[in-house]
Amino acid sequence: MDFTLVVEQTLNGLQLGVMLFLLAAGLTLVFGIMNLVNLAHGSLYMVGAYLATWFYQLTGSFALALVLGLAGTLLVGVVVELVALRTLYERDHLDQVLATFGLILFFNELIAILWGRAAIYSTLPEFLSGHVQLAGNLRYPLYRLLIIGVGLAVALLLWFVVSKTRLGMLIRAGASNRAMVAALGVDIRLLYTIVFGFGAALAGLAGLLAGPIFAVQPGMGEMILIQVFVVIVIGGIGSIRGAFLGALIVGMVDTLGRAFLKPALSAVISPAAGDAAGPALASMLIYLLMAAVLAFRPEGLFPVRGGS
């Protein structure tokens, strides 16, 4: 197995990991603070991808498309929160799951009406489409490096906002005792809307970053959403740190499993076994990992302390 391939696949794993983190952070924040299970989080990712791709085609400016796509997703998220989700905070998880499942059907079909069912592809602008010479004969796409950079920067920013600012203080307080926060005179509804919009924007950011490298199509959100669930279950629901580490673990395991499990099985057992079991096992790997983690730590690796 050559070294270049290992480094390349590790970078791919890191890139998938930060994408998963962008989605997991919003989902876990919304759950931790509002106690809301939002299946439609994947729909916001899809909305972000479509809006950015569409604005890029309209304006021809990649930067403008990013800004408009992000703002658009934020807007859609806030509208969804105000219209539908607000009434769900007091309901049990079952109602939340079903109502947001309904929202998924609605969004997938709405996107199909507006842009059709077929996947649309977006291109990268000239200055982002090159490769970077990392070492010797290792060339890695610049855009994927950019995704890793943006993801890590957002993680740092989130850490700063949550642990160092007044808004972050309210967020942490809301997560541990919302009745108390409301009693102290904080407008908890406004806080909820802000947090939800923030989560929506992060999902949109993941979507618009994904646009140029994945197929943009209705239903794209659900494929990644279930992986995000695995991330936050492994990391511990409600914990940003758990979401970050969980995302990196899942991204790595999934990518490296898909790349090396088949050749490894072929080498160790037999080529036939590798061909037969490799792909199946690789696609099941993250779920097996989740089962293993839960068997020992039912609350995930980094459970939130104290909070309700």
């Binding site: 759950f31 299970v37 539908a84 009434t87 769900l88 998880h93 079952l94 109602d95 799951v97 079903l98 109502a99 499942f101 309904g102 929202l103 998924i104 059907l105 609605f106 969004f107 997938n108 079909e109 709405l110 199909a112 009406i113 659900e222 279930i226 669930f229 695995v230 936050i232 279950v233 629901i237 792909p279 199946a280 696609s283 099941m284 779920y287 097996l288 989740m290 089962a291 839960l294 068997a295 039912p298 609350e299």
Partner: protein
């Protein structure tokens, strides 16, 4: 007999009368549609046992539908058409998988339980997609329906209909008995107050796990029926949207009621069928029926919390 039981009896009598009526009007389509409704009703009954009475929100029940269907499909693929064996394997394999998934997921609760059951079902879905021998993504056709040594011929739509009907009645009866038994009492107690259940000296885990396995086994049988109904199976049987639909059937019908799953299955499948195929509706509704289904779903969850069973006449407490 309470008036609710009487209403359920009346619904079952109506279902029993469908084949002769459909034959008289030469509308075999309705026979097919209602058979499908009854099969999904059996799956929804199995889900209601753990979701309604046990308070376990399983978002992965389609897994057992898939396992039951694959048990029939895989055995048939290898030339074994014996229905007793196929359906026995369908039930047994579903129970085994339910025991494996349940032993991990039942230890957790709330949101963890929802996500874990969803994730395991997704794992089985990808397993189905990646096994090329059994058709992978495309699934496979069932060349011969399950054979019951000449006792009953599933190729005869009416005979198949009454078989499904009989299994439906039996499932309704059995789940009612389970819920009313001492076991069912403990199961319901774990749902309404886990701490008190523990305080009187009962550990919820074995009761919940047993219910989870029973539920999986019954849903596996529904899967075997579904494979025979469509004579075709794909990993899509295990798609997570299918799990969501099953949950919606239970809620739409009325959670933790006997007739609820049947009403919910009928309600959802007939609604889907109407939105897609009713020629009175304009074209833009038929083409994008999922948009309207989604909106209806949200509205039902937000405003119709008692479900269809709540509309039936009779006492409200079963």
């Amino acid at each position: 007999m309470t008036s609710r039981t009487a209403t359920l009896m009346a619904i079952l009598l109506l279902l029993a009368a469908v084949p002769p009526v459909a034959a008289y009007f030469a509308e075999p389509f309705y026979l097919d549609l209602l058979r499908r409704v009854m099969i999904f009703a059996i799956a929804a009954i199995s889900l209601n046992l753990i979701l309604g009475y046990g308070g376990m929100v399983s978002f992965g029940h389609a897994a057992y539908l898939g396992i039951g269907a694959y048990a029939v499909g895989v055995l048939s693929h290898h030339g074994i058409d014996n229905g007793w064996l196929q359906w026995g394997v369908a039930i047994g394999a579903s129970a085994l998988v339910a025991a494996a998934i349940g032993s991990i997921s039942v230890r957790t609760s709330g949101i963890y339980f929802i996500m874990i059951t969803l994730a395991f079902t997704q794992m089985l879905y990808y397993l189905g997609v990646s096994i090329a021998e059994y058709g992978g993504d495309d699934g496979m056709r069932l060349k011969v329906r399950s054979q019951f040594s000449g006792l009953i011929d599933l190729n005869d739509p009416t005979a198949f209909y009454y078989l499904v009907f009989a299994i439906l009645v039996l499932s309704l009866f059995l789940t009612r008995r389970i819920v009313d038994s001492r076991f069912g009492l403990v199961l319901r107690a774990t749902r309404s107050n886990e701490a008190r259940t523990r305080a009187i000296g009962l550990s919820p885990y074995p009761f919940r796990l047993t219910a989870f396995i029973l539920s999986g086994a019954l849903c596996g049988l529904a899967g075997a029926l579904l494979a025979n109904q469509t004579a075709f199976l794909t990993p899509e049987f295990m798609n997570w949207t299918r799990s969501g639909e099953l949950m919606f059937m239970v809620i739409l019908g009325g959670i933790a009621t006997t007739a609820g799953p049947l009403l919910g299955a009928a309600g959802l499948l007939l609604l889907e069928d109407t939105l897609q195929g009713w020629s009175v509706l304009p074209k833009w509704v038929q083409e994008h029926w999922q948009l309207y289904l989604g909106v209806i779903l949200v509205l039902v969850v937000l405003y119709a919390r008692r479900g269809l069973a709540g509309l039936l006449p009779g006492d409200k407490h079963e």
